[in-house]
Amino acid sequence: MTAIQISNVEKRYKSLQALGGVSLTIEEGEFFGLLGPNGAGKTTLISIIAGLIRPDAGKVSIHGHDVTGDFRAARKKLGVVPQELVFDPFFTVRETLRLQSGYFGLPNNDKWIDEVMENLDLTGKADVNMRALSGGMKRRVLVAQALVHKPPVIVLDEPTAGVDVELRQTLWKFISRLNREGHTVVLTTHYLEEAQAMCKRVAMLKTGKVVALDTMSALIRRISGSSLILHLKNGALPEDLRHLVTHPEEAALGKYSLRINEVSEVEPILARVRESGAAIDEMQLQNADLEDIFLQIMDKGAL
């Protein structure tokens, strides 16, 4: 079943095209990453999914319920962790969670609320006023608020921006568990290693358009292969190998990163280098990671 269906969504703020026809299908149970630089339209897209912003054109549905036409059913299925660190200063952590649960029609939900607090290390702060919490603790409460009604679809908009390692680990442990139990998770993050570790499939947005959409493994395989990094002394890289260099600016340091697709390409390259009279000082074989792909795509604009 489709968890989130996004069809040709457009949004314009005066002269700025925030989203220019975005279409995505996210299946139930997926762990999906939405990546892109600042201003790419990630938060706008999430806000449209959440019903906080209305699209100029296009449709979004959650578990088949349109987010504007059938918003009540759609919102029951959705838990959103907003990017901004917002809180209501009138209430304690437990009051905040009970209220949020009540809005979703669940008045006696303490068992699950306790479990969520436990999993996010909030139990000790249950009766503390929101004002008195540190930024990291407030972030945990935001996550807890999004989960009080056990939504089948969880959307996290940069949940780990500016939080410590401990919270990141706590959070990912809990979110992974929920994903294993069948919840669909959509994540935006600036930490690409986080997306690489968590997400099975990613979409990359640039200036309001999807510029890449694939599984994480296919994306890594497809785009950049691996890098052979050579540090040379006595001489430079032969001219006929220069087209493989990915970071030409490093040549001044005697360092060359060469793009290769398979390990079998290494030997001929080394032979050619030796032939040219240069000596290899150091050698490294590095697999591509999401950051390489991200930078490549953002440079080129599209695949």
Binding site: A50, G51, L52, I53, R54, F71, R72, A73, R75, K76, L78, V80, P82, E84, V86, F87, D88, P89, F90, F91, E95, L99, Q100, G102, Y103, F104, G105, L106, P107, Q145
Partner: protein, 253 residues
């Protein structure tokens, strides 16, 4: 059926003012008390509006109603603007609550605060005059309608305003003049003909006049006419508020 979501929002909006009751309940009661002491002291024996009714006795229902109106307005408007500016309105906007539920929850909580403050004002001021209750049902009906109208106006103002000073402008240039020129402190029949006509265009006048009728059995206008006008005013405002909520005006961009 009354939904849990709706009840929760009413509870939250009520709890919000209850937690700061010194500022939201005690302070306005003290203010009304000061009005009574000053105006009552200055005007007692010099002004008589209705035969057999002292000025202080005349003033008390006006002050009670003024407190009901101002505090109902303050509750919904300040809650909304604060939530908008701090961003925590998102917690309500993400829920499956319907437009009608959001509207009525904010208005009902505003009414609760208005009625609580109004009752408090009455309790502390009633000692200063012999109050009668000729038609208690009118008292109740106009108090509830007045509170609902100002709660709705507060909701509209809170949706419209994007900054605190815009809300203050709404309050100072609209709510305050309409309240003070509605006959809280005087009978509009003591006004020159031009201002008498103008006062009849002020819907707040009918709320206070009808409310006062419940105490003294005397009023400037027949209470049934006031009821019709006040009821129609509430209906129009409610439709406007629900329209704003369903269109997402300034809430869902």
């Amino acid at each position: 059926m009354i939904s849990t979501g709706f009840r929760t929002l009413v509870y939250k909006e009520t709890l919000r003012f209850y937690k700061v009751a010194t500022q939201t309940v005690a302070a306005p009661i003290l203010t009304a008390m000061l009005y009574l002491l000053i105006f009552g002291h200055v005007l007692e024996g010099r002004v008589q509006v209705y035969p057999g009714v002292t000025y202080t006795a005349f003033l008390i229902p006006g002050l009670v109603m003024m407190s009901v109106l101002q505090n109902s307005f303050a509750n919904s408007s300040s809650s909304l603007i604060q939530s908008k500016i701090t961003g925590n309105l998102v917690f309500v906007l993400l829920t499956p609550l319907s437009h009608w539920e959001i509207f009525s929850a904010y208005v009902i909580a505003a009414m609760v605060r208005g009625i609580v403050v109004g009752a408090g004002v009455f309790i502390v001021t009633a000692w200063f005059a012999n109050m009668s209750f000729v038609a208690p049902l009118w008292i109740l009906v106009f108090a509830l309608l007045g509170a609902a109208i100002l709660g709705t106006m507060g909701l509209i103002a809170g949706i419209w305003a994007e900054k605190f000073d815009q809300l203050a402008a709404f309050q100072n240039f609209l709510i305050m003049p309409l309240t003070f020129l509605s006959g809280v402190f005087y009978s509009i029949h003591s006004l020159p003909p031009f201002w008498l006509t103008v006062s009849h265009l002020n819907p707040f006048f009918y709320m206070i006049d009808g409310f006062r009728h419940g105490f003294f059995g005397q009023s400037d206008v027949n209470p049934f006419i006031s009821l019709g006008i006040v009821g129609a005013f509430l209906a129009v405002l409610s439709m406007l508020a629900i329209r704003l909520l369903s269109s997402g005006y300034r809430l869902r961009h």
